[in-house]
Symmetry: C2
Subunit: 257 residues, 2 copies
């Protein structure tokens, strides 16, 4: 009888208040600070203190202003970043930013070769080891370079800044062929990785960005803590700052397992 009561109490509570989002929460986001990694030509993050301390009116008060490029630190590339008339960051459907996560570990190859391009074969190898990538997944590519963040020399291949530094960028990325394969065959919602760009550092035509974004598939860049995720068995929630007409912006991305 007592068990029945507990059962009905729990049933009514769950019907009334909705099903809990349960599980371990893993933050996949680097903090924003003056150390955050930005593209070598982009405006870096700056915090300006406005107030900090006792006000003399009986309370403490702290507040800041900040300025930043949309694309730096852990951030999202909205489709319009590389594809005209496609979604701006505020137009991306939330359904495309929340879903089943898949982690593809290419760190063994990528850590040996900073110009490594993740291939269709890497995706097929993952499927052979695990199972077919579910339709409408969010793909997280683990290159291993996240451990170097925010050391620009190791993470980007150069700690120089400015237009002349672009050709010195060396870090792995997703090949355009593999991006197209994921779109056509697995209908992915989004893709992210632990480097500064979904195209590898030596790209000059940004063909992976173009392939994804012409299909309204956003990319998450400078994702943190991918070493803490299993290959499967987690959900991704990626919520960007809602900038009207933005080409991207700061992203808070988490996994729940």
């Amino acid at each position: 009888m007592k068990n029945f009561k507990i059962f009905f109490f729990l049933l009514i509570t769950s019907l009334t208040f909705g099903q809990d989002i349960e599980g371990e929460i893993i933050d996949l986001t680097h903090t924003f600070s003056e150390e955050s990694v930005y593209w070598v030509t982009a405006k870096e993050f700056q915090l300006e203190e406005v107030a900090k301390g006792n006000t003399g009116n009986g309370y403490y008060y702290s507040a800041n202003n900040f300025s930043t490029a949309e694309h730096g630190g852990t951030h999202i590339d909205a489709p319009i970043h590389f594809a005209e008339n496609k979604q701006t960051v505020d137009q991306i459907p939330l359904e495309n930013l929340i879903g089943t996560g898949v982690k593809i570990d290419v760190s063994a190859k990528a850590l040996k070769n900073p110009d490594y391009l993740i291939s269709i074969e890497d995706l097929k190898n993952w499927e052979s080891e695990h199972s077919e990538i579910p339709q409408q997944s969010i793909i997280l590519l683990y290159t291993g370079y996240g451990k170097y963040y925010p050391d620009a020399k190791k993470y980007l291949g150069t700690d120089e800044r400015g237009p002349d530094a672009v050709k010195k960028l060396h870090f792995p990325g997703l090949s355009p062929e593999a991006a197209n394969w994921l779109i056509k065959n697995r209908n992915i919602k989004a893709v992210g990785l632990d480097t500064a760009s979904i195209d590898y550092g030596q790209s000059t035509n940004f063909a992976t960005h173009v392939a994804l974004m012409t299909q309204n598939v956003p990319a998450f860049e400078n994702v943190a803590n991918l070493e803490k995720l299993p290959a499967t068995g987690f959900q991704v929630i990626a919520l960007p700052m809602k900038i009207k007409g933005g080409s991207g912006g700061p992203l808070r991305i988490i996994a729940i397992r």
Copy 2:
């Protein structure tokens, strides 16, 4: 036999890829633009176009910089905003930003009185109508003022800006007594509302902020679309920009029902 196969397929799929986050997603976030509502003394949101158009290298490219106060538009107040040595925005545990939501509708009273203070009685009336507020809930206070956003005159009580406009602010808020009651008796995770501040516009000592934040309870301000939520039966996910040492910042807040 066929049903068995489907059952086992679904069982294995759910064990492998984790339980889906299911339900309708409701965005509780206003877009950031030059129209966004800011405190009358705070630096407003500014977007600066860096690139927009065909690059001549075979691809389209759009990118912007922006600057803003931490506290404006849909944003979070981290505990350190009004309480020394309490959590900065990057230190708030994600567990406190995700959980069972409760919407308390005080719009009938608040829309008649822009200086309305949400009382302990309002909370007890809600409990009489529904059920006890679950421990560790996220409380969303629906004043009805969200419908005026971003019309500063209607939303804030004044469209003037600068220090002299502070005393002209008129909008509802949570009383310090009700804040303390929620902390002590219901152990809430966080509280949000559809006005510019958790303290009402006429506050001079910000006692509700102080009450919440000395207990490490963050506040969500300028929350959108609360009219779309039921009183219970939803989960809240509130992910702020992860600013190192920040007193708050842009917030993307959603509900799943």
